[in-house]
Amino acid sequence: MSTNLGMPAVAPPGVGHLRGTQSFPDAARGALADSQLRRNLGHATRVIRTKRASVVAELPDWEQLRLAGEALKTATMARLDEHLERLEREVTARGGVVHWARDANDANAIVTRLVQETGETEVVKVKSMATQEIGLNEALEAAGIAAHETDLAELIVQLGHDQPSHILVPAIHRNRAEIREIFLREMPGVDPALTSEPRRLAMAARAFLRERFLRAKVAISGANFGVADTGTLLVVESEGNGRMCLTLPETLITVMGIEKVVPTWQDLEVFLQLLPRSSTGERMNPYTSAWTGVTPGDGPQTFHLVLLDNGRTATLADEVGRAALHCIRCSACLNVCPVYERTGGHAYGSVYPGPIGAVLSPQLTGVEDNASLPYASSLCGACFDACPVRIDIPSLLVRLRAQHVDAQRARSVPSAEALSMAAASWLMSSPGRFAAAEKASRLGRLLGRSAGRISTLPPPLSAWTGSRDAPRPPAETFREWWARERGTS
């Protein structure tokens, strides 16, 4: 296969979970009508926001840490090829095997082959955004391999035949009663007297998964960081399911996006402060595992690292948009976003929801495949303030909107928006035409007589009134008022 330089290689369609089946406004409409979902989301985002604010306030050097995190990521991307080659060398020297995947199809084929070579037909999985992105579970299932999610929330999502809705707490759209019902229906051997108390539900999951951990021969994980100068991989977690998967099986396969590399072990002194406080609002998460290749007598004796592109190099090619690759998946931007708080994650159609998803997904797929996401924001800027590595998400959103408009302009049939803008330009460039148009707008008064506003306009103006009202035009235009009050002519 040859590479086509100059033509960015985006994540391929038809595999994985980066593209929704509906546009954001259409998908959001359903979510907004679900009052249970909105209550759950409102509660969850409020709780995490408050916790984050209090632990961030504890660190007097928080802004210096953010600046260091931003600079570290920018510096890493500028020499990304060298850092990845170093990582590969160090992992290999310590007994690991490194594989490279251009896209989701490459990565799924590699992991499927590696599992098949072990002779196993089931694997345990640590929660991983990268493997969700590429649709690995579906690919394994198609090959007759059962992939068991072991993070509690991922387990709830998997048993509920559902999709995750938040990066950190993927089952946040479910309440305790729904989770109890899912467990009673889907968990073999569960106590029928199970109550909906969170502790009881968590203990039911512990008992169900423990047996799977103890018998598992193959585990699949993602990675929060890959340290180039030592070849060390890290998984940051809370429950201990990560430790179970990274320690007990004989074979470990880790799928890591190429942007997760950090140059040196020392750099973790920044990220291990930024990530937990931004993510769960804790001073430190309960467990972080760091492993380097294979350690004789301790943990998996076979280790594979799969380095994944899947649209990341296409993102890197944009001088502004590449900053989206700095994301450390903390989800702080979701919790402060007024749009996410109301719509939840499913409306974004991608495994990466919220503000970061709105700038990352369209770049991984090419903007025309996620064209509505850059508009899923009020540009209020709260996401930039919350971002631990200072990604300027509002500027990225504006840039993607511009790219989308340019792409539309290049098409032969102009959009309704482009036509109306051209018409407005023609009207407003002549005083006579503008005055005539102002007078004509008074016809609109017929529409909004009772409510003082217009809720429904005929196409193409319905594009505006589909999601907001138009004001009823005034009885007198400004020019008429001026002429009457102050004018002489």
Binding site: V47, E85, P198, E282, M284, L316
Partner: protein
Amino acid sequence: MSAREDVLARIREANRGAGAPPPPDVPRDYHRSGDHPPGAPEVLALFRDRLVDYKATVIDAPADGVPAAIRGALAQLTGPVVVPPGLPDDWVPGAVVDGADGVGTLSPADLDASAAVVTACAAACATTGTIALDGSPDQGRRALTLVPDVHVCVVRADQVVQTVPELVAALHPPHPITFISGPSATSDIELERVEGVHGPRTLIVVLTDAPTTSA
């Protein structure tokens, strides 16, 4: 072209296309060391506070009181106690030792059937209440401190640093390193915190100024 060469070529092309931005200098003017040296009373007080906040139990032990403190920590438990091969012999008399010469002998089922594990640690951090294990002989392989339901960890005062940068500097890959901050926990159901999921549900820290290598 292999996938490897393909991806590397795409990265180089992308960086050239984006104007080959030079890597910026990384400003490291955040706090890289604490206000107090390792083991200072202020550092230990902070460490204790953080551990208790995580619902861990802290037992202070004098230099010669480690075995007694461990005995107290294990008093309520019935069942075998497992230890790594390099733990001082007099700390847990009668414990089941997980192999020797760096090779564990207990199966996952053996570990699952044990009541508790007792280990030392590699380093600890006060600001975050974190204990780090690096697989040294007095800490053992990773499965040993994962499967048993109770983990008793002996931390020497001079191992406790104040800040995260000091903790990271005290640890050295390629040793497998586990950072532990309280018992395992989940907030996946309605954001309600439940302590104890898959890792040990109980973490007991014995804080001492005794040299752990005395035996």
